[in-house]
């Protein structure tokens, strides 16, 4: 993420959390936190415990976040926020926690007939390949919980629809034929299948590197009867360095009632 993107992200994040901006420029912003946000990100539980038990006047913090120091001409004190900085990771985590599960309805207007909406389960997956290198893939999948039809790039297709968290008046929601949890299993299956079909020469290569380095290590300790602790340590290190692993994570997902 570039500084402009970070700035944009912060603005949306605090706006959506009902925090007021005191200063709002293209390279830094000062924001008045709400009590709720203060508790979430400022890490001062004792203060809040104190205020709440004594009935004192709560005074949530103001936070100045600088996204592009190079543009800073004012004498501003604040936290530098960049991709990889702890503050941004924290806010990403909060965002993630606040946006993991969703239920949305396609909005249908002006129809005389009672609109009928079909339930879908949408899930965004991140798949990571690890050895001494990494690569990540996103899979956004949706399954029609009526007929089991599965489509990819589900999240992108949502952008073209008018969806909202509340049910349009009058709408008729079809019941599930496939239970959401069963749907999820099927989507998991699709991801695992995609992984199986993928090119895994990266893992082969990592294994070769591992074997080669193991041979080098063995050579060093050749003829040593009782291997010292450092030998075991090196072996563990090589394992951690080269062992091929795949991780499947769900970024988020939810139930979507669509036309």
């Amino acid at each position: 993420m570039y500084p402009q993107q970070v700035q944009q992200y912060l603005r949306t994040f605090f706006l959506e959390n009902n925090c007021q901006f005191v200063n709002d420029t293209d390279h830094y912003l000062t924001v008045q936190l709400t009590i709720d946000m203060d508790k979430r990100i400022m890490n001062r539980p004792y203060y809040w415990q104190y205020v709440e038990t004594t009935g004192g006047v709560p005074c949530p913090a103001q936070l100045t976040l600088i996204t592009d120091q190079t543009k800073l001409t004012e004498n501003i004190k604040g936290e530098l926020v960049h991709f990889g900085s702890p503050r941004l990771s924290q806010l990403f985590q909060v965002t993630h926690d606040m946006g993991s599960f969703i239920q949305m309805f396609e909005q249908v207007e002006g129809t005389i007939n009672r609109p009928i909406l079909t339930p879908w389960l949408g899930v965004n997956y991140k798949v990571s390949y690890y050895s001494n290198q990494t690569k990540e893939l996103l899979h956004s999948l949706g399954i029609n919980l009526m007929n089991g039809n599965i489509i990819s790039n589900f999240h992108t297709s949502l952008n073209e629809m008018n969806i909202a968290p509340s049910m349009p008046p009058n709408a008729f929601l079809l019941p599930y034929v496939i239970k959401p949890n069963r749907g999820l299993e099927r989507l998991d299956g699709v991801v695992e299948n995609a992984i199986q079909q993928d090119d895994h020469s990266w893992a082969e290569q990592a294994k070769k590197r591992w074997q080669r380095d193991m041979r080098v290590l063995e050579f060093f300790y050749e003829g040593v009867e009782v291997r010292p602790e450092s030998y075991e340590m090196e072996k563990t290190a090589l394992e951690q360095q080269y062992e091929a692993r795949i991780k499947i994570e769900v970024i988020n997902g939810g139930i979507f009632y669509l036309k």
């Binding site: 900085s85 968290p165 695992e192 300790y221 340590m233 563990t236 080269y242 499947i248």
Partner: protein, 510 residues
């Protein structure tokens, strides 16, 4: 292959469907997806991190080093660029890349005490890595990246606290301090787990080729064989050029080294000269008298103490006096005592220091900022006094100064004084590009110390040709030191690669 998967999300979904917990907000949902999309690492290769680092414009050779280390050396390497090419930047790029890729969660950085703050600052400012300088009660379990000195790390209880952590990456600055495999610090580093590991040193060979063997055996035990096989292979290579190339090739698999001239940057020239000096007749006499002491008293018969005295005599009478005086106290007989006393009287009667006169001549001729490196604190103090009597301002510098004092001294030198007089330990970690004359008033045994000293001024940002003056007094031990320095440089060039001029522009063949 292992596939890791968690059922956490499935459980959360069930709770929402059953109405136990509320659904989330669409904006955050959408943002969360876009964060994942934006930050996705789509390729195994290539550097992801530089584009995010707005406070850093890495140089071509630095990016190349980072890529080579990650892709060809799998994250275990000796970074051996010549002094001043930005090894810290290279290490920062590599660390950042692994952090961004999620391959490193915790990293341990060992650096000389005087450089700890510089590391922390650079990592914060240039790489946005929240590194922490280790203090007594730093909770290591909560620190992703911690910087501490080797001296602290190897001692209890710090040592045990470090072993209790699981570090994915170890970075060691000034790694030539690990050249000796019998030291406590070597053993400490050896027993650390090194999944990814960077050893930073401009001088992987200082005295002999076994130092390089020791370094590489820390990084990748077995890469150069075990001690016995290496020993026989290297002694073979002394007579066999093919073997020599093979060794160099092996070394290059785990070491990256840029020379100034390979960086594509315009470097100013380095003009290195040996300045021969003649003792006055009186100085010569005292030098001989000191040498003769070994025939008079057993206190002076040890080779080491005699060499120290000879070296000091080549530096200043002040330095010599301190040692002589100390040694005199070990003399038992009256006769011994009297002899030493006699030498001391002769010594203190000297009114000319030929070397200091030569240094003065160079400083006056330069009419510019000059750094003088000496090995002895007494000579340092003497030189300041001597220059002062000639109307030349100077500041002192040594490695024990804390950061504030260093910065202040550097400032004084830049703004007010003509000369900075530094002792050896002041050689690391200060950058003085605004100066381009260096006098090596005393010669160290180790050529790489000279390289480190020169590196203080001949580095990125230097705009003028750099003049190096190596002072050596004829017919003294300093000529032997010169010979030895040439020999060590030869070994370095054989296994590591060519060196920039250190002693003089003309290579001496042995």
């Amino acid at each position: 292959m292992i596939i890791e998967k968690s059922s956490e999300w499935a459980d959360g979904l069930t709770k929402r469907l059953e109405g136990i917990e509320p659904w989330d907000n669409w904006t955050f949902y959408n943002m969360s997806y876009h964060i994942a999309q934006n930050n996705l690492i789509t390729e195994f290769t290539g550097l992801q991190s530089p584009k995010y680092l707005t406070n850093l414009k890495p140089l071509e050779h630095q990016l190349k080093v980072a890529e080579t280390v990650i892709e060809r050396m799998n994250g275990k390497a000796i970074l051996a660029d010549e002094v001043g090419l930005g090894k810290t930047i290279e290490a920062g790029l590599i660390l950042k890349e692994y952090l961004v890729r999620g391959l490193v969660k915790k990293a341990l950085i060992l650096a000389p005490a005087s450089l700890i703050n510089q590391w922390v600052e650079e990592l914060h400012y240039k790489f946005y890595i929240p590194a922490v300088a280790y203090k007594k009660n730093t909770p290591l379990e909560h620190c992703e990246v911690v910087v501490l000195s080797m001296d602290t790390a190897k001692k209890s209880p710090h040592r045990e606290l470090i072993f209790a952590q699981d570090y994915d990456m170890i970075i060691i600055d000034e790694a030539h301090k690990l050249k000796n495999h019998k030291t406590k610090i070597y053993e400490f580093v050896q027993s650390l787990k090194k999944k990814f590991c960077l050893l930073l040193t401009a001088t992987p060979v200082q005295n002999d080729v076994f130092e390089l063997f020791n370094l590489i055996s820390l990084l990748k035990p077995g890469h150069l064989g075990n001690y016995e096989t290496f020993q026989s292979a290297f002694s073979a290579s002394k007579h066999d050029l093919e073997h020599d190339d093979y060794l160099k090739e092996l070394v290059n698999q785990v070491m990256v080294r840029n020379r100034r001239q390979d960086t594509g940057i315009e470097w100013t020239n380095r003009q290195v000269n040996i300045i021969p000096i003649q003792f006055t007749a009186e100085e010569k006499e005292v030098y001989e008298l000191i040498l003769d002491l070994k025939n008079i008293s057993p206190v002076f018969s040890g080779a080491f103490s005699m060499i120290t005295l000879q070296k000091e005599m080549c530096s200043s009478k002040e330095a010599t006096f301190l040692t002589l005086n100390k040694m005199r106290q070990n003399c038992t007989s009256l006769e011994e005592n009297n002899s030493v006393e006699y030498v001391m009287q002769k010594l203190m009667a000297l009114d000319i220091n030929s070397k200091a006169e030569k240094a003065l001549e160079i400083v006056s001729k330069a009419q510019d900022k000059v750094i003088i490196f000496t090995e002895y604190k007494a000579s340092q103090a003497y030189l300041q006094w001597f220059l002062h009597t000639k109307g030349i301002t100077s500041v002192l510098f040594n490695g024990k100064f804390n950061k504030n004092k260093r910065d202040y001294m550097k400032h004084l030198f830049k703004e007010h004084a003509q000369v900075l007089i530094a002792t050896e330990s002041g050689g690391e970690g200060i950058n003085l590009q605004f100066c381009h004359h260096v006098i090596n008033y005393d010669l160290p045994w180790n050529p790489m110390k000279l390289e480190q000293r020169i590196g203080r001024v001949h580095r990125l940002g230097q705009e003028h040709d750099v003049h190096i003056y190596n002072l050596a007094i004829d017919n003294t031990i300093e000529i032997d030191i010169l010979q030895l320095l040439y020999k060590k440089i030869d070994v370095f060039e054989k296994v590591v690669g060519d060196l920039d001029d250190i002693l003089s522009a003309f290579k001496q063949t042995i």
